[in-house]
Amino acid sequence: MVAGGRGKGSCREQEKMVSRYVKALALTTAVFLVGIFIGFMMEGFVASDIGSQATSIGTSVQELELEMLYLQGVNKSESCPVMNDIIEKTNSAIYSLSNELTQYSDKNVLFEKENVLDVKKRYTLYLIKNWILQKRVKEECGLKAPIILYFYEREECNDCIIQGNILTLFNERLGDEVIIFPLDRGIDSPMLALLVNKYGIDQVPSLVIDDVVHKGLVSKDDLKAMVCPSIGEACSDL
């Protein structure tokens, strides 16, 4: 039995082997396609969720705009409390969506990229419109809440992570005492470019607090010192 004569490798065995590679490829492709399909569903679900949130913010902003138009003739003691109410409602929705949008990287989006980018752009425009309106309300009604424009970028900005955390803390603890508008500098929008130009934002993160520009990361304590004088008592929560 030990004599080392060798026969040919059987053809059937060879075919069986080849078919295993093909079979494995077919199965893997099938699982892969199912995975892509489920991913596609998840992506669509998230994209439409963000889209509808953005739309509802758009509606609130439009309402604010209309109401301001309507209340222009009415005396301030009547119109200001109403507008304040609307602003409060809009602001909380804006901040929660901005958090979600910041998290949702379009790097991970395969099919809905255009859609998500479009939502981000729309959202940015609502944000800016809201900011303009709120600035006007602030002037006309003499509100104290500081208005902060926060310029950030999603990718490769580690300081933005820290700055974002600090602002989240302020938003959470101070509520409507401070109004924050986070703007993704990476969004391609002429209106955004106008603001970036006006305030000379050449680095992220940057904060514009009531028209005063602060470039670079602002610590919690420094930010506190900037906004607290106009807020007063509520700041003790920080």
């Binding site: 030990v2 080392g4 060798r6 082997m17 295993r20 995975g35 892509i36 991970n108 395969l110």
Partner: protein, 411 residues
Amino acid sequence: MIGPWLLFSLSISFLALYLNIWFMLSMFDRKANFFEKVPVASVLPVVSILIPARNEGSAIAKTIRSVRSLDYPRDKLEIIALPNACTDDTAEQATANGVRVISLRKAGKANALNAGIRRARGELIGIVDADTTVSRSSLRKMVGYFNDPEVGAVTTFTRVSNPRGFFGRMQSIEYVFSGMLKKVFSMVNSLYITTGTLSVVRRDAARKIGFSDETHTEDMDFAVSMIKNDYKIVNCLDAHAYTSVPLKFRALTRQRVRWYRGFISNARKHSDVLFTRKHFDLGSFVIPVGIVSAAAAIILTGNLAVQALTNVLVSVKSLFFVPLMDQIDIAVMTASMDPKFAMFNPYVSMMMLAVAASSLILAVASMKKLDRLKPKHAVLLPLYILVYYFFNVVWWLAAAAKEAAGSRRKW
């Protein structure tokens, strides 16, 4: 439309899933093979067991005793100890245990084995390292495979004899998986290693091919040469051998870097089998996949390390800008955010899920055949995947770097 990182992640998870499915098909589709009954030899051949040893005076007696107690006719079993360049009592120990001793002045396992096969009486040669013991029934189960004249070598299922400490336990899991891999590889005629944990080889083939210390691992060099000479190498899962593994990090690192360098240098030495029709399974699948997997593991781990480092840096920097108490609050707020917007990619995570599920099936199936699944594995398996894997990446990296630098090997 699709970024390079996403493309890479998707391709790697595709490859991983493909491999898992390929293994599953091998294991389950041809049940007769993975769970096969061992063939019985009509006539038991004479077997010469070679025990190469260098300064193994403390271990060799145990190895010899286990070989002597093999369930095999005494007159058909020759045991030869091959002490080479020893400065201790290895030769005396071997003589005292009543085996034939061929002492060699020159160092080197390949050299010792060549001397052994020249003078061995048996038609079959068994190779057992001095750190290994064999189970009583192993040899008898293996010789039946030589009924097939194409079979040139048979290997065992190797287990760890000293599964102590972290590295011992990790290796005991690793040996179960590599045991499964070897069986599957042997089923597609691509088992590329005949380890010194009892490999039985046809003497004529061994004489024809011979052992060489040119690469860092003579057992892979020999096995690939066998395959190139049209011999089949099969694995017998029912034949068990027990090897004592390095338990200390340094010793284990030295062993692994040598092994992985051996893999690389053998892939280079035998590059003529790569991407050929004749050796399709070995040259176009098993070896390239081994290289790609190692490279992918290095890249993935590197990326993970960079991300982890960035996170640490951000956290540290963050301490200067936000007090620690507030950071805890922020962490809670971030954690309570809607998870569907989290950073992970839906496609890669779906694929990862499929890979994890298929890996689990493979793990459970192989454990069922090779080792009983015990509750302790619930703790050890995650450690194996998360921690031990990382060490392996480091060893691969070190081996690749050393091989690239062409530095001289250190024994």
